[in-house]
Amino acid sequence: MNLLGLVNYWAFIILMMIGLYILLSRGNLIKKMVGLSVFQTAVFIMYISMGKVQGGTAPILMNGDVAYSNPLPHVLILTAIVVGVATTAVGLSLIVRIHEAYGTIEEDEIQIEDFGT
């Protein structure tokens, strides 16, 4: 077992979990979105690290016998990044609207607005 490699993964997992924790525990809607993007970015990093080949290079073909990194995760993550920013955009515009409608973007205050408790 390659402990070093594992530690590498674990670091990303820690990042992911911090993101998830921000997302779940923070009442501020913008911080939730930030948490989401931290979480997602960490997942992206994990993907890319899967595609890494030791001693490899970016998958742009060159002459000669070169080891390349795996291009597929890159492609997937390109897509995923775009999806992430799309989600962020929609989420943020929802936040703007929520702020207009409620005057706050704190979850607990919205609850009070809605249910009066």
Partner: protein, 141 residues
Amino acid sequence: MEDKIIIRVGAKTLIPFIMVFALYVQFHGDYGPGGGFQAGVIFAAGFILYGLIFGVDMAKKVLPLSVAWLFGSAGVLIFAGVGVVTLLLGGDFLDYSVLAHDPEHGQHWGILLVELGVLTTVFGVMISIFYSFAGRRGLGT
């Protein structure tokens, strides 16, 4: 910010370069990092810079929201349209090989076209979103 002459001049000189860089990214995508998406973002960033410095209203004069909106849809149309064209030419959906006599050229053309579609959409979408947020300014707090 309209009265800060240095910024205005600086931006005016900078923005064309950003645009050119975006085009470079677009067309160099085949050989190095980059492609439609990144190019679109840079293109949009250039324009947003313009909007930030000269005001959203000014920017809207150059490129109205409806046009940005149109770009956003048009890109998807281009992309999917390529797919339909390949269908009509007898290939599978998005099978660029049928676009030219030589499959390899076909692929080149196809990739170029779809990257253009991506660029258009991303540019249009980013501008639209920028306008949308900017349009809300002053209504909130």
